[in-house]
Amino acid sequence: MSYGFAAINTSGQTIISDEMENLHFLGKATLTGNDGGNYGDFPGYGGANDTLDGRVIFTYTITATAPPLVFIKPSDYNRWHAIITQSNSGSTWTFDVIASGTSTSDAPELYCFVNANSTSGTTSTHGLVVWKPDGTTRTFDSRYNPLAISDGGTLAPPLDPTDGSGLPGNTSGHSWNYATNDHDFRSTTRYTSSAVTGTYSALMFAAPSLAQATYKRQMEGYKKSTWCCASCCGHCLCSSSQEHWSTAMWWVMYRNTFRLRSGYMDAGWTNYAAGYSFSSSHEGGGWFGGGGGSYSSGSMPYTAKTINLTSNAYIIADATRYG
């Protein structure tokens, strides 16, 4: 480059140039609602190990002429967060943010950043503006609060999202209608960490939630009632039987979520959906004597596994720099 503009730091890294587009603060997305919170426990189930972490889906919108980079600034730093969907209709961008717990209070704030040329509206006449060689496209505009990244790295959550020992699975040999969950599906201890600096209560993060997981605990029950259907001289000449079957199954789907706490950035899990199904049947039917039925509060989205498990890049910034 024989002409132009470049600002280079003491490490030789380009901070501003007339070719590289910097991100600038567009504004905070508007909270438009939430889904009321759900899955603090297994729907329809009332036995042991019923408790889940729960989650709320908060929805936000913002107007942007270019795809925004979105940071989550928690209002409650004990909660886990992640953006789980992002879509646009024209210049209206919509984000769904998952937060652990079922409280609809303390919604996080979303700080949105776009490239310099997509910012508009300022009347300030002072500052530094850098254009591309075309003379019309801004790469940097100090009037819109450029993004300053304070930390970053990569993180992946652990493969097993459940607090219970090992991954849950199927077992048979239970008594008929046995339906007591023995696996802890919460995720409070399931995370990996990376050190960060700064006053955490001022920090915000941007990280993609790519990993998902679905796991289930299934118990098969059985009982066989046998009786003599004909006898003679004290001996059973033939026997008959009535078989009983039952299946109890608990499943949870998780999304990768993140948490900022003092000194650390954590990658963990939050349950997105859950279900319980129970079926009981036996030979015969009617009048309290037989048949049986089934119940299900939903079905697993896919077979039990963790998918998209990879190290995610995350970046952290100080939210107090932005309005």
């Binding site: 329809g44 189930y45 009332g46 036995g47 008594s175 008929w176 209608n177 046995y178 339906a179 007591t180 969950n181 009982k223 009786w227 003599c228 259907c229 004909a230 033939c238 008959s240 009535q242 039952s246 109890a248 319980y276 129970f278 009981s280 049947s281 030979e283 015969g284 039917g285 009617g286 009048w287 309290f288 004597g289 037989g290 048949g291 049986g292 039925g293 089934s294 119940y295």
Partner: protein, 237 residues
Amino acid sequence: MFLNHINDGKDYLDFEVKFPDLLVADDWLNDPRIKNRMFMANKQRVFLDGKVIIIGGWFSGNFSTEKKPTYIGEAVDGSFIILFEKNETDPLFKWRGVITELPSNTKKIINYESSRALRLGVGNLNTGTNYEEYDRAPSVNMWLGRSWIENEHEELYFLVESREMLDEVATYYGLPVPYDDEMKVVLDNNLQSIRFKSYDLNNEGEGNFVAVVVASITFVNDTATTLKLYETTRWNE
């Protein structure tokens, strides 16, 4: 009165021989895979005011793996028969009854649902209701379910834990006890022998199942009108 005479194991086994008319009348009994193999494994009697008003049972094709059990019942006074068919709207009670009134052949449907307490006890399901909005006798500890015939009546079923409990329920509603002298002896000395089923209601595992003996209160326009006792016996017991 096809079922009135089924009193012992032999009659259970000889059912098809004794009642060929019923064999002709119902297709399920003409199934070649089970014909000549039918027997009645469970028998049920419904008591009201000290009398048996309905007799029914579970018929099973025996001596074969191709079992095709069916429940059927009839009123002792010949006013109706009832057949049960699959209906999968309830987590536990997967059937409904089709009542055929005689001699008009008018058909009515009786629907069944399990209670929240029974669902919790059987499958740790916390759905359903325990019918708190009904006038429930306080001596009952567990309401099992409800049946209803549209625009006619509702019936709340409860767990009978003793003969004294039945007496208290009768007193509460001002209704006669359902059992006769013979059944009173059974209720006092061998209550579990008339269970309809055993369930692990207390989550204590096999061997500790609760013998579920059933009685019911019928409500017509929110007024309790009858107290019934459901007796289930196994022909081998």
